[in-house]
Subunit: 350 residues, 2 copies
Amino acid sequence: MNDKHNVTADRLRGFVATAFQACDMPERNAVRMAQLMVESDLGGQDGHGVFRLPMYIKRIRAGGMSVDPDISVISERTATALLDGGNGPGHLVMSRAAELAIEKAKTCGVAWVGARHSNHAGPAFLYARMPLEQDMIGLYVAVGSANHMPPWGGTDLLLSTNPISVAVPSNTQPDVVLDMATTVAAYGKVKTAADRGETMPEGWMIDKIGQPLTDPTRSSEGLLLPIGGPKGYGLSLIFGLLAGTLNGAAFGKDVVDFNADPKATTNTGHFVVALDIAAFADVETFKTQIDGIWGEMKSSALLPGVEDIRLPGERLAATTAKRNAGGIPIPQTLAKRLDALADELGIERL
Amino acid sequence: MNDKHNVTADRLRGFVATAFQACDMPERNAVRMAQLMVESDLGGQDGHGVFRLPMYIKRIRAGGMSVDPDISVISERTATALLDGGNGPGHLVMSRAAELAIEKAKTCGVAWVGARHSNHAGPAFLYARMPLEQDMIGLYVAVGSANHMPPWGGTDLLLSTNPISVAVPSNTQPDVVLDMATTVAAYGKVKTAADRGETMPEGWMIDKIGQPLTDPTRSSEGLLLPIGGPKGYGLSLIFGLLAGTLNGAAFGKDVVDFNADPKATTNTGHFVVALDIAAFADVETFKTQIDGIWGEMKSSALLPGVEDIRLPGERLAATTAKRNAGGIPIPQTLAKRLDALADELGIERL
C-alpha cells in the first residue's frame, strides 16, 4: 500500500465500482459510475470525483438515492426529451441524457435533453464533452446541489453555483472545454480552503451585513458572490429556470442541500445539448479552425508578470495526461475516509 | 419641435424608416429596422437604438452594408439552419433567423439557427425575446462588433464583449430577460462615460501594463476586463466559437471594427435558439412558476443599504412601459447628430 497516495486510474475505478456493488448497485451501473467519477479525478476536478464517494454511499444507504434507477422518457419531440431520472445518481441520468441528445442531433442537427429527479452528477465537463466523440459540440447546465448564493442585493440563500460547461472539439490541440460556476468560487473551493486551514481571498464570500468573509470555517454564515455582480446572479437564475423549473426539478427554495440531508429526494435538474458540427460546417475544417484560434490566443502579447495565455480545457487535458501516466494523488485525509468506508462496506481498502 | 427631447415611439419609428428609405432601403425592411431599433430605445438600451442610426447610414452609403440583402439558407436540418445574411443589417438577418427557429421548434421542440455575413443587430434581448410570443424560451448570442478585450493575461485585442441574452416568459410578472456582455462593462458604457466627461470605476478597464484605466477618453489604449476574470474570458471565447467560427463568421483577429471601417464587410456571426416550453412542461403551469420564482427572489431579506431585489428584465419592462407612455428621451448631442443626418439625406428633421 505504499502507493496509496498516488493510485492508478484502473485501481481507483476498481475500488469505486466495488464500493457501489457492495451497496447492491448493479455491476453495469457501478462500472459506469466508477468510470465517470475517476474521469473527474483524472481531469483535476478533485472535489467532484472519488472525494464524493462517501457522501454518495451515505445517501444510497439512507435510502436517498436509487442504485438501479428506472430512467424513463416523460415527454419527447424529435429534437428534445425530458427524462425522469428515477432518483438515480446524476452520472447515470445525464449519461443517458447525453446519449439521447447525441442520437437525436445526428438527424435533427441539435437536441436538448433535460432531466428531473436526478442527483449530483459530478463536474459539468463530463457531459458537455460526451458529444465530442461524434464531432458534436456539447453544452451542459445543472442546478447546483445546495444554495449558497442570494439574489443580488439579498441575503436569503435561494441560488446555487449553477455551473455551465461547453465543449468544442479541436484537431491537434486540446479540446476547448469551459467548465465554470456562476459564482466567483465554487463552494468546493471554500471547503478545500477550510480543510487546508487557509484564508479565502476577498471577493469569494461576504457575510450577511455585506462585509468580506475570508475565514472558510465561517462559510455557513456567508454568501457566495456571483461573477460580475448582477450578471452572475442573472446567469445563475436563468440557468436555474432552464435546468430546474422547466424540467419540473427543484430550484430556489425547493433545492435540498445534498450534503445536509441524505434521505430527502433532491429532485436535481440538469440539461444537455448536442449540436452537430456537420449541420453548420465541414467538420475537419472547423476543427482545424479551432486549432488556429488556439494559436491566435496563445500568441497574444502578455501583461507584465504573466507567463502564458491559457485556453479553457488546457489544464484539464494536461492534468488528465499527467494522471493517466503517473496516477491520481489521494490526500491523506481522503485516504482515511476511503479506508473507513471500505471497512464499513467490508471491501478491500484502496 | 419643442418635444424634440422626448419623442413618441411612433414618431421615432417614422423618422428611422424614412431615413433608411432615403438610402434606397425597401419599405418593408426600413419599417422592420425602425420597429426593432425603437424597441431598443423603448427598453432603455439607448446605446443600441436610434443612437446607431448615423453609423448604419454611413455604412450603407459607403457600400459596407446591403439595404436589400438576399438572406438565404446555406444548410439546414430539421432543427437547425445556417443563414447567409447577404451582408444585410443584423436586425433583418436575426429576425429571419428567429422566425425560422420558432417555426422549427414548433415541431422539433428546439431549434438552433446561426448566421454569417450579417452585421450589428442592436441589443441581444430583441432576438431572445422573439420566441416568447409562441410560448417558447429564447436564447441569443453574438460576436461583438469590435474587439476590446484580450485573452486573460494578454494584451492583444482578440475578443469582444460577445453578449448573451436568454428570455423566459412569465404569466403576470415581467418576462425574465437576461441581456449581458461577458465584460464587466459594455464598450458603449465606456463611450457614454467619455461623452459625459465622467470617470470610469476601477474594474472596467486596465491599460497594457495592467494598471487600472479610469479615464474613458483613453479607452483606445485600454483593455476591457471580463466578468469573473478567466471565467468571463472563457465565456467570451466559447460564445465566439459558437456564434462566429461555427457559422463561418468572423472571430478573433478577423473581427472588423464596425465603427472604424464603414466599407469592410464585417461578416458578423450570431445564433438564436428557440425552445418550446410545451415540449417539457404545461405552459401555463410553467409561466405561473416563473411568477412564483419572481416573488421568491423579491421576498429575500436584503443587505444593508439595498432597497429592492431586481430580476433580469425588470428594468426593461419598466422602461418600456414608461417610454411608451411618456416618450423616448433624445439627448441634445444625439438630436444634433440626427438633425445633421436628416439634412444630409434631405428628409424632415425628427
